[in-house]
Each structure stands twice: as C-alpha cells, then as structure tokens.
Amino acid sequence: MDEVKNINKTNFAEEFVDATEELVLNMGPQHPSTHGVLRVILKLHHEKVVDLDCDIGYLHRGVEKISETLSYKLAAPYMDRLDYISAVSNNLAYIETIEKLAGVEVPKKAQYIRVILTELARISSHLLWLATHALDIGAMTVFLYCFREREEILNIFEMVTGARLTTNAFRIGGLPQDVPEGFEKAVKDFCEILPGRISEYEALLTKNRIWLARTKNVGVISPEDAIAIGLTGPSLRGSGVKWDLRKAHPYESYNEFEFDIPTGENGDTYDRYLVRLEEMRQARRIILQAIDGIPEGDFTAKVPKVLKPPKGEVYHSIEAPKGELGFYVISDGSTKPYRVKIKGPSFYNLQALKKMCLGHYVADVVAIIGTLDIVLGEIDR
C-alpha cells in the first residue's frame, strides 16, 4: 500500500523512471554462446548489465577425488577431459608434475616431440577459440574456416597418438611410442598452409569495421586488475603483462627455442584477439624449430612399472593455451596420489567476467565470454 502511495506522490517523469524494472535474464546453461553449461544470471537495466552472477558446476565430475583412488599413471586419461580442446596440454602438465615429483629425467627427443604436440594443441585450441568467438559475434564463416585447419591438426594427433580429441598422448617418462613415419611431413605441410589461412581470417576480421566496433573497448581490464583477479594466459597478455611460463619458468625444452611473447596495449577484446592470432604464428615458429631439431635417442626414460614417488608435494604449471595450468600433487609414498589439485586457468579467468561485463550490453557479454576462452570441463572439473 505504501508503494502505491509513493507512486501517486511522484510526478510523471519520476514515475516513468521507476517503472523501468530490472530484468533478470537467465543465460544458460543451455545457450548457444556460453560455451558449454555455464549459467550466467544477468540483471539488466534495459539491455545494460547492472549485475551478474556465474553459476558453475553443471559439469562437475570430481576428477580430483577420482584421481586419489587411481594410481599415478591411470589418472592421466582423466586429465585429458578437463580442457578437452587442448587435451595434450593437460596431459603434459599432469605428467610433468608426476615426473617432477618422482624425479624422472625425460630424454631430449621426447621433450621435442612433446613441444611439437603441445604447440599444435595450442594452435588447435586458439583456432577453436577464434571459431566460436567469431561465431558469437556473428561472423559464421570464420567458424568453418577454423575448423578446416583444426581438422588437419586433429589428423596429426590421430596419426601420432591414436585419438583425435582425448589423445592420452604422453606417459610418465616420455612417450608411449616413437612418432610414426610421415609425422614430420604432415607437421611441415600444416605449417606451410597455416600463415595463409591466418591471413584469411585477418582479411575477414582484423580491419572489418563491424569487428572493430564489436571488440574495441569491450571488456577492458587493466593489468593491475588482471593480475589481482588472477587472469593468466592470453587474457593477461592482452592487458600488456608480458608473462609467459614458457619464458619465465621454461619446462621441457622451451629455453632452446626462439619465440616472442605478443602483448596487447588496451586490454580489450580486440587486443586479446590480436594476441591469440600472433600466438598461433609464434607456435608455428616453435614447431618449425623443433621439427628440424629432433635429436636422436630414446623416446622414453626408464620408469618402474609401478611408480611410487617419494613422500612430498609439488606444484608444477605449464602455459596451456588458456593460461597457467597447474597441478599440485601430494604423494604419501604409495602408488596413489594423496591429493591432486588442478588449477585450471578457465576457473580463474571466468572470475573476471563480472568485472569486464558491468555496464556493457547483453551482446557484449557474449563477446566477453568468448574472449575469455573458457572451457567448462576445466572450470567444473
């Protein structure tokens, strides 16, 4: 009753303002552009976002709990299914952590092949990111062009590891088997076509006025904020922080390759787009150096069949396509890990969504989710 009285008191203009309610819009978990089962609860004023809450966990499978019940080796295929877009990187991070814990030295040859495969995975992940990001913003042809190139990478994965998506590519100590014949040629052929294809995407997007209008000054985040909120990977580098684990704490043989770390200036969606495109080119550069320099030797180190790392705990992280992917593993000296904690980059990157989205339009929310490059398999674990 009081409300009615209040409305009667106000003049028309104020009443008009009051009459515009906030609209609560439920985006997801079934929505074409939340990239999986992410639910974003948006509070809108007209079409502007005034508040936002992420609801995650629809894909929670308890990987951390499951890996406590499995031996060190057997948990590896589960890690492929975290960030299923770049399964090779996940596998590498987990395997390397166990190797670090158990003190296993990996032969150089295996390291080089690991580098090639993970960089291919980086390209494939970025291609998928570009595909979906462009599709969210409405450029649907880029989507299929990217899938065309991704298919080539998946073929290489199939040739080397035996699977296209959940590759289970590496074993503790090295590789399960040597690379097959024709691997070198396939990788080189792919590196041959890649620059031309990237310039095709660039022709479609980089200078396009609509793309510029949609991505420039959208989802801006300053370097300080980005660090505070825990952004890693291309999302952080888009804000101008020149930090890459491959350079900062080189693992495998990354200190032997020459490559640049691209960074952005404004920390907006457009910069992150450019950073990722350049990262694809740099990944190609690393692959070309690695493929020419594969040393002779064993493809795996000698590792006991039943691995029992000494008591201890170790945290190891690699630069996955989406950011810092780390594993924290505690060993109690038995065949099974005592605790496995997965630090997925998407989990921390998604936290930045609220900061980036406030004050933007609904359409920008879609673009920002795209630019964060999240994978729900990794967020929900």
């Binding site: 499995l70 035996g162 699977a163 088997q177 479609l204 200078k207 006025r209």
Partner: protein
C-alpha cells in the same frame, strides 16, 4: 593518413576485402567428406573398437593375467579365470568388456603381454541398445555385431 582512412571507409575497402575472401572460397573446392560414401583415412594407431586376438587354432591368446583389468582407469574390463588342475595354468573363463565406460585410452593394449586385446581402427560403434555395448569374449573375437542403418 586520416584522409586515406576516411576514403577507404567510404569505399568499403575493409568490407570488400572480406567479401573477396568468401567469394574465392565459394569457387574453390569444398572440403566436405560425404561420410557414408567417402571415408576419411584412419591412421593405424587409431584406438577404436576393442578386439581380442586369436591364435592359429582359433583359440584365444589371452592368458588371463588380469593386467588389462588392473590398468583400466575406469574398470571396464572384467577377467574371470580358473586354475587348470592339470597344467597349473590360469585359464580364462569369462572376459567382459563394457564399452559404455571405455575411455579408449589404450592402456590395456599397451600393457598386454601377449598382444591379445587390441583397439582396432574400426570406429563405427553405434548400437540401438545399451546392452549391446557389454561385449563378451566371443563378440570381442569376431567384432561387434552391427545393425546397418537402411533408408
């Protein structure tokens, strides 16, 4: 410089560049595979449908060592064996492979000491009934029974 930008904006240079890319691809060859008619190349290492190898007499190669079952992250393999009273060897009595749970990680194939269980390059594994995914030894030896879709 600004003038140049303005002119290119008015003449839609950026848009025409994109349009030319799509037009070029329209006249170029499509990359689609017409699946049932054309099949893509499957590499030798592909991990697909599981098979159990047999020796020249048609008997199973499996020695019932249980390594595959132990090395399966999801526990989709069940091995049941008996000790033969005469030869004192373990003899396989039942072998079940639950394909609904299989991750196709290839650990069983790697660990098998006699190369009995193999993940073949066969990738068409759809079935109408969930029960058909639980494979017994004889099915594993001759391959899954598949119902071909007819128009």
């Amino acid at each position: 410089m600004r003038m140049k930008e303005l002119v290119s904006k008015v003449l839609f240079v950026d848009l025409i560049k994109g349009l030319s890319v799509t037009f070029k691809s329209m006249v170029s060859h499509a990359v689609t595979e017409q699946y049932p008619k054309e099949r893509s190349k499957i590499y030798e290492r592909f991990r697909g449908e599981p098979r159990m190898a047999v020796d020249e007499n048609g008997k199973t190669k499996c020695i019932a060592c249980n390594l595959c079952a132990m090395n399966c992250p999801v526990g989709c393999i069940t091995v049941e064996a008996e000790r033969d009273p005469e030869t004192k060897k373990r003899v396989l009595t039942r072998y079940v492979f639950d394909m609904q749970r299989c991750l196709f990680c290839g650990f069983c194939e790697e660990i098998c000491p006699v190369n009995c269980i193999q993940l073949t390059t066969d990738y068409e594994m759809s079935q109408y009934d969930r029960k058909d995914f639980v494979l017994e030894l004889n099915e594993l030896e001759k391959g899954m029974e598949k119902i071909k879709y007819k128009k």
